[in-house]
């Protein structure tokens, strides 16, 4: 039953062909078998999951259910879970237990979902390979010497390996879409503000957005439905009405105008990726869409701007990890300064420290205008590029990543090359737009992702296009060998 999509499992539960308890037991068994090699789960809450499953089964028996009731899910370890450690992939939070649930966790639990455990991730969501986790790297199920992408690498790997029906992820510069592409699954970064950030440990507050990662667009629609909505505890969460994301999944694509930024198909793009993305676009064209070449002239400035803004916010967001109230504290601090420097020096990993330094520098007196303020201006320009483009097209399409999953250690320690993984994804974060990645082929046995970006609050459109595409193709229902 693990090879079924979430929507198919939901139907099976509905028809009482399986129970949630059986489904959970099955996944727990698979986790036992496969997780040691993958390291996708940091923690498995078997007891809690079994209890929640039997509760879901009782609710189902009482007729009190929704489509997600009894479906098992894993939460990225950036989402706070009451009573269960939330580490954010960091030594500094190794033993941290939040006294509250993230809104996303509560909402999915309220929808009847069963949490299996917490997914590995790059420390504080900083990374594109999941090699920055204090708790070790995650293997890509398609080729285990390859990275799963990051920062939601554990989430992507465990969905691809079918160790849960779905997972939550967060996306600050591509952290849902890039690992979804690397692992051959579907992941959507909603419009900024669509999903509450409450209880989601902040990396870069103005860019962070939680979203679902699952096998299909149809699954993502169901999950996003439960995750979305205004939250009084998050001032940046939107009050925009949440539509029925599943209602338009089947809508025809005729008349759809797809913009292809010339900047996305230039030099540096892997030839196999280029041809598979082109093939996918032709598929959409056959389904009634029209393709149009467009330009996002400030695309080249996205990475530099992002790597000023995100670290700037992070440098401040991560100041609370000081060893005073919770989390790791160095042994025998001699004085206050020693407490701070050693706690943070020992507690944070290399990439996190690098970004704190970059961000602190960018905000410093005398550099603020040249870096932070300049980057904010670029951000506005990038946003304007999209507004301009959306006058002529309905969505923008391209590859999710410039390459397929690379080998572990291949780019580790080479930050600038690593940062280029975000080349096609950061612009959606900078402008707050929704973006989806869906599988569109394989190169050398590794999945390729097609990315679609829509105007704000048009996730339904993205899910519709991806769903129609997935009805025409079967890239998304492949199972990596060894995980059948």
């Amino acid at each position: 039953m693990h090879d079924k999509t979430l929507a198919q499992q939901a139907a099976m539960l509905q028809n009482s062909r399986i129970s949630s308890a059986e489904l959970v037991a099955h996944y727990l068994e698979r986790i036992d078998r496969y997780n040691p090699a993958l390291n996708a789960y940091l923690q498995v809450d078997a007891e809690g999951a079994q209890a929640a499953a039997s509760q879901a089964d009782q609710a189902r028996a009482a007729g009190n259910t929704g489509p997600l009731t009894g479906i098992p899910i894993a939460h990225k370890d950036i989402f706070c879970t009451k009573g269960i450690a939330t580490t954010c992939g960091s030594k500094i939070l190794e033993n941290f237990k939040a006294p509250y649930n993230a809104t996303v966790v509560d909402k999915l639990s309220d929808a009847g979902m069963v949490m299996l455990g917490k997914a590995n991730m790059d420390e504080f969501a900083m990374g594109s390979s999941n090699e920055n986790s204090y708790f070790g790297p995650v293997a890509n199920p398609w080729q285990q010497d390859r990275v799963p992408g990051g920062s939601s690498g554990g989430s992507a790997a465990l969905v691809a390996a079918q160790l849960a029906s779905a997972a939550t992820g967060t996306d600050t510069g591509g952290s849902i879409r890039q690992p979804a592409a690397f692992c051959g699954i579907t992941g959507i970064k909603p419009t900024y503000g669509r999903v509450s950030r409450y209880g989601m440990i902040a990396f870069a507050s103005s860019l962070d957005q939680g979203g679902p990662m699952a096998r299909t667009a149809e699954d993502c629609a169901l999950l996003l439905q439960a995750m979305s909505g205004h939250d009084v505890r998050d001032s940046t969460s939107s009050t925009t009405a949440v539509p029925d994301f599943s209602a338009e999944l089947e809508a025809e694509l005729s008349g759809l105008r797809i913009g292809l930024p010339t900047e996305y198909f230039g030099e540096g793009l892997d030839a196999d990726i280029a041809s598979h993305v082109q093939a996918a676009l032709q598929e959409l064209e056959k389904a009634g869409a029209t393709l149009k070449s467009i330009s996002l002239p400030n695309q080249q400035h996205c990475i530099p701007a992002y790597y000023v803004l995100a670290p700037a916010e992070a440098s401040s967001n991560l100041s609370r990890f000081d060893g005073v109230r919770f989390g790791y504290r160095c042994k025998n601090p001699q004085n206050l300064e020693d407490l701070y420097t050693r706690t943070r020096g020992e507690g944070f990993g290399k990439e996190v420290k690098r970004r704190i330094l970059i961000g602190t520098y960018a905000l410093s007196e005398g550099y603020y205008d040249a870096y932070y303020l300049k980057a904010q201006k670029v951000r506005q320009l990038v946003s304007n590029d999209f507004s301009e483009a959306f006058k002529d097209v309905d969505v923008i399409a391209g590859p999710t990543t410039p390459t397929t999953a690379f080998k572990r250690d291949e780019k580790h320690g080479d930050p600038t090359s690593m940062y280029l993984n975000d080349l096609f994804t950061v612009s959606a974060n900078l402008s707050g737009l929704p973006g989806i990645s869906a599988p569109c082929g394989f190169s050398g046995g590794l999945p390729i992702g097609l990315q679609l970006v829509a105007p704000a609050y048009q996730e339904a459109r993205l899910l519709n296009i991806a769903h129609r595409y997935q009805q025409l193709t079967d890239w998304h229902v492949q199972t990596p060998s060894g995980f059948e």
């Binding site: 505890r233 940046t236 401040s316 609370r320 000081d322 109230r325 701070y340 007196e365």
Partner: protein, 478 residues
């Protein structure tokens, strides 16, 4: 050389909200350590600030009270620094876009002259927690109850030229924030804190001297002394050929001196930037209008009303309106009474203030309820009591009794206004003193007071003095 003092003040007024600026935790003073700190106040991972609307309302109220600009859009910014009682490692404040913009107020100095003080801005921010150094041996305790308490920081231009002016301004703001009910003004508990930026320059100079910031001043008297000390210190240094170091100095009330707060002046770079967790604060006209409707009568307007409608003298009106509680008490005394308000003003400013000063009692702890004082004054006004007897009743009220009429009855203090009774006593006294009567009639009119005293004595002090005087004069003439 003659020196001119230049002072600007930064006042931190703790806003009187029930809950904190960004969390639902209580702001009540004096709770057990860390019992009023929510996950947001503790800076736990993943939690987010949400602006308390009451805080915004109070800042707007302040702006309306002084006629300052209200920013339609203001921005919360993070001030980044590490300190154990600063849970997030940054304080949420406002930097480039404060909620209240420029304004000016005119204050009356003790000598009666008026002084205009320009306001640079007022912005919202959260307070930090407290480090407790004297409870744990060899360790510092952290109490985060105060963390996230809302503050309005009110910043002036360097417009004040003496400690007296600075104190007059601080008192004005202190009175105002209580008037408009946005701050309890308690300086001991730190609800109202003044930091003074002090510098000196040669008289006639247009450029500002290097300033120091004087903190830790928790009374107006200390503010005056701290500034005076600091001015003298700076002049001494400059006259010795030295230069002033720009630094923060703490006032030590015990030693009556200021001293450098940090041994080495760290170049603090707070790395301010807009808080991405909080969208810009947008205030529309409807919100401002709604706040305007809740505005109480401001001190200057109240003072004018006392003068115009009650016939109170300008000096008395000023004294009555100096703080809201006094003015409220005064109006409460008058509640339901029809005598001249001036009478009540005399009693409040005379008897009540006199006794408060003598016994060091605060208005809040006054043993006499306004209504009781109101009735006492009525009994004097309607002739039941003489002024002198009234003061006796006042003493009884002060010691805790409350029923004015019962006191008068029980102690037989009621003034005798019955003309028959007074006439009988007058006749008796005149009959008993024939020689004095003869002298009086021979022209020694000074003897009137002898007869008044004698009748008063006979009445045990209760005869209505006016009636008695009139009747005696008539009878003595023969």
């Amino acid at each position: 050389m003659a020196w001119e003092t230049v002072i600007g003040l930064e006042i931190h007024a703790q806003l009187k909200t029930r809950s904190k600026i960004f969390s639902a935790a209580s702001t009540a003073f004096g709770a057990e350590p860390n019992t009023q700190a929510s996950a947001v106040d503790l800076g736990l991972p993943g939690v987010l600030p949400v602006v308390n609307k009451d805080v915004v309302r109070m800042a707007v109220k302040f702006a309306l009270a002084i006629g300052a600009q209200i920013a339609k859009r203001s921005v919360f910014a993070r001030k980044n620094y590490f300190y154990p009682d600063l849970p997030k490692g940054y304080q949420i404040s406002q930097m480039d876009f404060p909620i209240v913009g420029e304004g000016a107020i005119t204050i009356t100095l003790p000598d009666g002259t008026e002084k205009r003080v320009g306001l640079t801005r007022a912005h919202l921010e959260e307070d930090a927690g407290k480090s407790v150094h004297d409870v744990f041996e060899g360790a510092t305790g952290i109490d985060l109850n105060r963390a996230g308490t809302p503050l309005l920081e009110i910043v002036t231009e360097p417009d004040m030229r003496s400690a007296t002016e600075a104190v007059a301004y601080a008192r004005y703001i202190h009175s105002l924030v209580q008037y408009i009910d946005i701050c309890d003004g308690n300086m001991q508990e730190g609800s109202f804190r003044c930091d003074a930026n002090v510098s000196v320059r040669p008289v006639g100079s247009e450029t500002l001297g290097t300033r120091t910031e004087v903190k830790n001043v928790n009374s107006f008297r200390f503010l005056e002394r701290a500034i005076d000390f600091e001015v003298e210190r700076q002049i001494d240094i400059l006259e010795d050929g030295g230069s002033i170091v720009q630094e923060t100095r703490l006032y030590d009330a015990d030693k009556d001196e200021t001293r450098s707060m940090r041994s080495k002046e760290e170049a603090n770079d707070y790395r301010y930037f807009p808080d991405p967790d909080l969208p810009p604060l947008v205030i529309d006209d409807a919100f401002v209008e709604a706040v305007a409707k809740t505005m109480p009568e401001l001190p200057a307007i109240r003072r004018q009303r006392f003068i115009d409608e009650m016939g109170i003298s300008p000096v008395d009106a000023q004294a009555l309106c100096a703080d809201k509680q006094t003015a409220n008490y005064f109006e409460a005394v008058l509640e339901g009474q029809s005598y001249a308000p001036k009478l009540a003003a005399n009693w409040v400013l005379g008897e009540v203030f006199g006794r408060m000063n003598k016994e060091d009692v605060a208005l809040a702890d006054l043993p006499i309820a306004a209504a009781d004082l109101g009735l006492l004054i009525k009994r004097v006004d309607d002739g039941t009591l003489s002024g002198k007897l009234g003061k006796q009743v006042f003493d009884v009220l002060w010691s805790g009794d409350t029923d004015v009429d019962a006191i008068i009855d029980a102690r037989g203090l009621k003034q005798i206004s019955d003309s028959g009774a007074i006439e009988a006593m007058v006749d008796e006294v005149i009959a008993a003193n024939p020689s004095q009567l003869a002298e009086y009639r021979a022209g020694k009119e000074k003897l009137l007071s002898f007869f008044v005293g004698a009748v008063m004595k006979a009445s045990k002090g209760k005869a209505n003095p006016a009636q008695l005087n009139k009747m005696l004069q008539e009878k003595l003439k023969g």
